[in-house]
Symmetry: D3
Subunit: 242 residues, 6 copies
């Protein structure tokens, strides 16, 4: 089985970190490939960044279909372009917020999301809603660290502190990490706070792996039907559906 | 007051029709300009089309800010890129589905949306939900006519028939037209079925006009704060926030 | 176009203030008339006051229909008698809480209502619910000032302070003023707190103006059908539907 | 214990029927009195009728407080003036739709309401929502018989037929009768359809009886606090809160 | 009329206290019997305890049917086995949380539940949801006292203190006691805090009494149909439905 | 990794079928064991059956903990005893309805459940709600075949027919099989109807496998904390928590 993991921002160091953990958690027999688009924003910190990350992400899905991947992970916690990607893909496409929230809802009566910037908290709430996970989401908290500063050594203590507060103040039983860039901190945080911490990247790899193993692909009935063929104009003409 | 109306698809005949009706309904003292992006899909009939229409739309919002427009209308019934556009704009940005649903909820206890293709019904339901209009939305119905065939003479009778069914079968008291391309049929349908029919294009023009007259601009606290400055890579580099 | 604005309490000084701002925000070509009923409570500070304000309000709607008004504003933040008024009126009828909440939901991801007495907070929550605006309503706050004391000079600083708290503590991006009597403070508060503040009176005038311009009247299918003719007994016999 | 049952319309034959069944179901030691207001509409078939029935109803609650009643039933299925009445009353006030829905939700997984005119179905849905009973309410059906024609012999078969349809088509396990005027048909319908049928009048009598026996009165903290004293003007001056 | 009250834990002192108050609040003509199962947990403080209390409870319902009881109260605030019990019983079966929440929702705009252990708060929220009472439930609070220590003299002041906090901090207008073992403290607490306090045991007795008086039994259409006859294996073979 | 799959009914032929498919879909390195309790109902077709299946199921979880299993599947579509099982288990516990609904919500915009008896449809709706999956659940349909007759050759065509109807009439994009006993029909149905069909048994095996691989166990903060030690009486004394 081959799974393509797309980090929708263009920061390759982050993509490498993502790829490393994807490989570590993939089952024997699962090949994972982690890529970034070759155009778009270096980090996604708002709706505008997100909107402009999506074309690059979709280009990777298209390439992935040509390369016959069995499934896809969208490795950004806003799950950008998820539904559009499902129109393109035969196999399953899972967002990392989606996978993390689903899994968290099963190991605890409620979870809190701990994310980067406060301006993206609304996005997390919105995703919780559309995935049906709002009833489990106790709170969305931000540590106010930009996405690309997450690898700084000072970040772990701040995240641990915020996660502890989530357990106590929100009554959360588990934590969902709100950014793909936190993938390497998951284990540390979990053992520090003594509660399940769900990282979306590794969660989504297992989620897609499961779906593929079960033979479940994206339903082409209704919303996720393939794009209708038409000619796009100008800059994005190369992405016209055929 | 100057309002920019952006048809996010690249079909100029549709943009002209939109512009005509915008001007007709604008108050004295309101200048409206209707444009299409110079790149992207010729029609929006799914999530993929929508995702690839958004960059062109946002480019028009950016240009609009440079030109000091007071407000914007997004003239496609999926309201693509609405939140991203709000990050860019000082003034209000309103989607045509948004405006039409708000107004319909005030003139009737419930409305049905009548749209083009069944594959986009899910989008309309989703918008109804995020605008708080789900409690008013009795049904979303499709006549299975592609967006660019709406100007065909055979369309009006089909739409009228479907709207009649909505009144009777759904218990709707009003109709929301589900595509900007239906703007010229609004009056005819309303007089045929004897119930309020809300076209989003004209509704959104009045909605934005009202907000501007009231001095209400997009709040920069929280989700709609301006994009953080950063360098985008490749194809979309020209759209980097500064 | 002629719009009748009905302050459902009998306090004429408040009606004058309302009328002044209605005229100031009305478009050229819109005539507004602001009136109070000639019977009922001098201020509305609970369900009982509200219930007894409604007959006087409805009498004004009846008169308005005879005088061929094109639309109506109910200028009290409990939006009393709104549905009954819609049964009487051909044109649109809009409540000021309704208009303010709709507009606020478009310029910010969430708003807080700041109102007079805590005992009326439940009403505001209830209205937010029936208009579909609960998902945008972050909080309803009271400054504990009686309606008729709002013109006191000491009120503005208290309101500004409470609005500031709403932005910070509730994460609101905009404020909805919870009483028609605050109409003259809207601009001051907005410039003090640096965020959109929506006054219902002026919002509702623009809302009705828009509906009338769009040719949208109250649907007579379903709940808002005209009252069935019958003879009322005693005190209210003069209000029997004919 | 003394319970006052107020039929908010002025039709005394209906009040008598209500009084008869109230007495029949009251426990030993419970005195019930059924009254109509001396002003207002003869039947309630819409929001306008309802709004103009409320003052008369509230006058009866005021009188009831002077006469030291222990609790009140509002015997119209729109539960008009319920919250205003609670501001006036020390003891509990229960609407007949409220009591019937509560009881029905306990004897079946879901119920349908069968009411008089289709134009009042929206009201029933609204009440189901504010009482938390929407999740149990499978449907609201109308037989299109005016309230004052319910005593006609032809009515029972029509109601039985509609109730049967509700069981089969809606998957309802119980029926809530949607009008106080159906009180005398409850037993017949139930034995005909072989499922629980809840009449609101008798249900509300038992509900109030229970609350009074438990020593539960209307909480004066928050929304149901007594009306603030003030002078009303004109026609309704006699109803000023003191 | 004969009502069987089943305390689903095996602690007979608690059962006696429950029986005492049931008799005290029952109407003349109502016989109440309070029992405990002869097997199962001595107190219910979590889902596991609850699951293992249910068989004993259901054995008592079966016996009750043989003894022709008219209705049943499940006297534990988790309302364990409620739906299973309804499959067995002809007459109504009411849980004490259910009855208390229903009644509280009618005497105040909102209530808080004050219960024993924090680990059971989730249960109370869940019940509030399935009964439609979530919209009235302001908060669920725990005093962290084990169920069997409730008779300790030190408990009353702690409960009073927590109830006071609920009124102020949660904006609750009434209190629902979260454990059958608090039945004897209801009056004291209410008079101390000056707001309605609803004890579930006495509430449920009145609730069942009302349903029986109204002739309402459990609907056998749908979910509560009698168990299908089959042979159970081993330990619970004696409980096979016949 | 070792996963224990508990069929909560005592029918060993069904357990064998479940075990077969569990093994077939388990990853290399995952050992699965399928068992039935040694007491309780032979099939679960209502709340009463379910309640009496739970003690046997919990006995198997206890045994499983002693045997150091890493995770558990509850292989009945009512997901009986799920929360109680989570109190006992260190590792994750997943219900088959839970897993199937989660996975279905990711491969299609909506699913329908196709189950055995109509009397259990309410259960499926209830589970959809508590898992947050109600927004994806288009319908729950029953073929009216008892659980133990599912192996009959006549069943497959009936199920296929009902699934087809679900796609067309409910607008479902995927199907969730509503009974563990349908596990062997999943592939056939899917290829016949041309849409994803999710069987809960195999779904739950992959779900638990993923959680264990991710190092996620049941959070012991809050509702799922271990049962408090106490002595149970009589028949179930052997199950007292220690």
């Amino acid at each position: 089985m081959r799974i393509k993991i797309i980090n929708p921002n263009t920061s390759s160091s982050m993509t490498e970190r993502i790829g490393l953990y994807a490989r570590r958690f993939a089952a024997p027999g699962t090949d994972t490939v982690a890529v970034s688009p070759d155009f778009g924003p270096p980090s996604i910190e708002g709706y505008y960044d997100e909107a402009l990350a999506v074309p690059g992400l979709l280009a990777e899905i298209r390439r992935g279909e040509a390369e016959q991947f069995d499934g896809y992970v969208i490795a950004c916690c806003g799950d950008p372009g998820l539904f559009a990607a499902r129109e393109l893909a035969r196999g399953p496409v899972v967002g990392i917020a989606e996978a993390a929230m689903h899994f968290a809802s099963v190991v605890a009566p409620g979870f809190s999301v701990v994310t980067t910037l406060a301006r993206t908290c609304g996005m997390a709430w919105h995703l919780a809603e559309i995935y049906g996970m709002k009833r489990f989401c106790r709170n969305v908290r931000a540590v106010e660290i930009p996405v690309l500063d997450l690898s700084d050594a000072k970040v772990a203590p701040l995240l641990i502190e915020e996660c502890r507060r989530a357990l106590i103040e929100d009554g959360a039983g588990a934590i969902v990490l709100g950014c793909a860039g936190m993938v390497d901190l998951c284990e540390t945080i979990s053992s520090e706070i003594g509660a399940p911490v769900v990282d979306g990247v590794t969660a989504a790899v297992k989620f897609v792996e499961s779906l593929v193993a079960l033979g479940l692909s994206t339903s082409k009935r209704g919303d996720y039907a393939s794009p209708l063929p038409k000619k796009y104009l100008g800059l994005l003409a190369g992405m016209s559906p055929t």
